[in-house]
């Protein structure tokens, strides 16, 4: 993407971000290797837009989300937020910045403390960061709860008294209470039922419109990502393999992995019996990724060059980035 430092329109700019986790073994717990969870990814997110990040489990999409929020210290690379390099900030300064970027987690059943009433779950961060004064505190919580479709008189209830969809609303309220401008949504709807899923997606879209929020939306569900995103990035084994505007990516996928993903997604219409490209095999281990193009072990179009050379992640025109030797052809 853009190699110059932040233009004003980009809220977030990620450059060559990598995160390796050490593998320790033996009696002395020596580092014997690295799991390359995220390797050299770059992208930008314009203000007020949504970037969807798709990929299979273990492809590093969650790690990417956490690393760019500095929940993990990045091994390499830079994260510019409003022109500020988060990777270089001191802990105290980073802590001051925290309310700006929030996260919504996947499983609303395990991400809420069962011993805290809802008002406390939502309000803890508000107090810690002094978002509003003591006098407005309760009103602020109530306002946020109603904005997220919760009834404000439920504020003294505990999480177990709520259904899955309502719990996810609590998680969203917790993030919103700090008045963030950027939210990482890590699979926020995959644990929910279909009809509830629609409610939560609509809520997220509506909040974005009202508050001008910027989202990084991590999901494995291509149809959900298409619905909510403006731009979509596809990850495979820690690397970004394709990145483009939503319409472009779904209409004209260039990377064979993206093509396979799109063709594997089931379509709710019995008349559509597609000729699918079904990928054989499983994802290789990120501790020992294949040489050259990481996808070559499963790629239907693999040729000699793929095993030796790592393809460049480059623009094929109109901001459609792809990492494949044969993307142009």
């Amino acid at each position: 993407m853009n190699t110059q430092t932040s233009e004003n329109t980009n809220l977030l700019e990620i450059k060559n971000l990598s995160k390796y986790f050490p593998i320790k073994s033996g009696l002395l717990q020596r580092v014997t290797g690295h799991v390359r969870a995220v390797e050299d990814i770059s992208f930008t997110i314009p203000k007020g837009s949504t970037l969807g990040l798709v990929g299979e489990s273990g492809c590093g999409k969650t790690t990417a989300g956490r690393t760019l929020l500095q929940l993990y210290k990045p091994t390499k690379g830079e994260v510019f937020y409003n022109g500020m390099n988060l990777a270089k900030l001191s802990r105290a300064k980073l802590r001051k910045m925290r309310p700006e970027f929030q996260m919504i987690f996947q499983d609303p059943y395990s991400s809420l403390s069962p011993r805290m009433p809802v008002s406390e779950i939502i309000g803890e961060g508000v107090r810690a960061h002094g978002i509003v004064g003591k006098t407005e505190y309760e009103a602020h919580i109530k306002k946020i709860m109603e904005e997220c479709g919760l009834q404000s008189h439920h504020m003294n209830r505990y999480p177990h008294e709520f259904s899955g969809g309502q719990r996810q609303r609590i998680c969203i309220a917790r993030a919103l209470a700090l008045n963030p401008s950027f939210i990482v949504c890590d699979e926020p709807v995959s644990a929910l039922d279909v009809s509830i899923q629609a409610q939560i997606i609509n809520l997220l879209k509506q909040l974005q419109k009202e508050r001008g929020l910027t989202y990084l939306f991590i999901s494995h569900d291509l149809s959900v990502v298409e619905h909510i995103s403006d731009n979509v990035g596809v990850m495979y084994l820690g690397s970004m393999v394709e990145l483009a505007a939503k319409e472009e990516l779904y209409a004209n996928p260039l990377h064979p992995y993206t093509k396979a993903l799109l063709s594997a997604a089931p379509i709710p219409d019995p008349k559509v019996k597609m000729n699918r490209t079904i990928l054989s095999g499983d994802i290789p281990s990120p501790a020992n990724p294949p040489s050259g193009c990481k996808f070559h072990t499963r790629c239907p179009q693999c040729k000699g060059i793929c095993e030796e050379q790592v393809p460049q992640f480059q623009d094929t025109g109109d901001g459609h980035y792809v990492a494949c030797h044969f993307a142009g052809a």
Partner: protein
């Protein structure tokens, strides 16, 4: 137990409910123990000889200390031979309990099949039998052999301390005790090869944690197919898997179904998977079937407001909508179900008749049935 007795000073008397329900459980449990059924008690006749399974007004209740949950409340549908039938619905709608009732694996003593029947046509011109009345020793001969099940979570359904070969061989050994160890092993390897596992010989010596999610689900499928079942019950077989692996598994299931000429009862909430796999679709809501028909009936001409809502609420690749339709409200509390249509509270297409009793079936065509009061004549 009457409704008045359950309330004291206008509040629910939980102790009375708990006591009544425990008595109820005891009644069913003692009835089960006494059962020395002669074949005439469970032998029956199929309504249609083409059907493999006929659910007829099945009722499975859970007697809990805070009230009775009618998890399956009068479910009737057929599984024709050689076809795939999908049961769709949100969590808690009773789709899993329906399949567990079929396998007679409902969690006792709270869960009891209290009424209705499940007729099953045995293979090779055998008698039709009622699975709900079958004594335990008899159902054991059928379960796992003629009717097999694939569970949702492959990690938790495989035993972590036994090797794959042993777990697979166990079922074969139990149902076919005359086979020698070598023969069982040979069959195990052949099964693993059939589900597309390379290096099958080596895999028999692996433990479940050494395999990926897709491989584990293949092992589960191999286990289900071990004895050439007539019916495979697949309870959310791909929910825990990635899309590319899901495509592999669905492809495999379809291929194997034709190979051994079995029927599949697919339980899922994923309408995309249903469209791809199913010949017939049964939509359940709050323990009842609300609509059933062929896949084309359900997807092209959905009639029940709930089905319409469900289909509208999923994002579809290539279909642009500004906002997804969302069904308002939540599933009603399963303990206090209303006497009216269960969907009434959430329905946006109510008519005057909806205030009355639970609606009767409306047959829109030979295959398409719906339980709703709306006027379908104009469609």
């Amino acid at each position: 137990m009457s409704e008045q007795a359950k309330t004291k000073n206008g509040k629910l008397d939980l102790r009375a409910i708990a006591k009544a329900n425990r008595a109820e459980i005891k009644k069913y449990e003692t009835a089960k123990k006494k059962h020395h059924a002669s074949p005439s008690e469970y032998q029956t006749k199929m309504r249609d000889s083409n059907n493999l399974i006929e659910f007829d007004n099945l009722q499975t209740y859970f007697f809990t200390d805070i009230g009775t949950v009618k998890a399956v409340n009068g479910v009737s549908f057929d599984i024709p031979r050689g076809s795939t039938i999908a049961v769709v619905g949100e969590s808690g709608c009773g789709k899993s309990v329906t399949s567990l009732s079929l396998m007679r694996l409902v969690q006792g003593p709270q869960g009891q099949i209290v009424g209705g029947s499940i007729r099953y046509q045995q293979s090779s011109g055998g008698q039709a039998i009622d699975l709900t009345k079958l004594p335990d020793e008899e159902i054991r001969k059928i379960r796992g052999k003629e009717i097999a099940m694939i569970f949702q979570e492959p990690m938790t359904s495989l035993n972590p301390v036994f090797r794959i070969g042993k777990q697979l061989g166990e079922a074969i050994h139990i149902h076919l005790p005359e086979l020698s160890k070598e023969e069982v092993h040979k069959r195990t390897v052949a099964l693993l090869e059939m589900v597309g596992i390379a290096r099958a010989e080596g895999i028999t010596k692996s433990y479940p944690h050494e395999l990926s999610g897709g491989m584990r689900q293949r092992v589960m499928i191999a286990m289900a197919l071990a004895l050439d079942p007539q019916l495979i019950v697949a309870d959310e077989p791909t929910t825990a898997l990635d899309v590319t692996i899901q495509a592999q598994i669905l492809d495999l299931l379809r291929e194997l179904k034709d190979k051994i000429n079995a029927s599949i009862m697919l339980i899922t909430h994923d309408l995309g998977v249903v469209a791809e796999m199913a010949d017939y679709v049964v939509v359940m809501y709050a323990g009842r079937v609300i609509e059933q028909g062929t896949a084309e009936d359900i997807y092209d001409r959905p009639a029940h407001p709930y089905t319409i809502g469900l289909l509208g609420s999923i994002p579809v690749i290539g279909r642009k909508v500004e906002e997804l339709y969302s069904i308002p409200g939540n599933v009603p509390n399963p303990i206090h179900m209303p006497d009216t249509c269960y969907f009434k509270e959430r329905c946006e297409r109510c008519v005057a008749a909806c205030d009355g009793n639970y609606p009767d079936v409306v047959e829109l065509s030979d295959t398409h049935k719906v339980w709703c009061y709306r006027d379908f004549s104009k469609r």
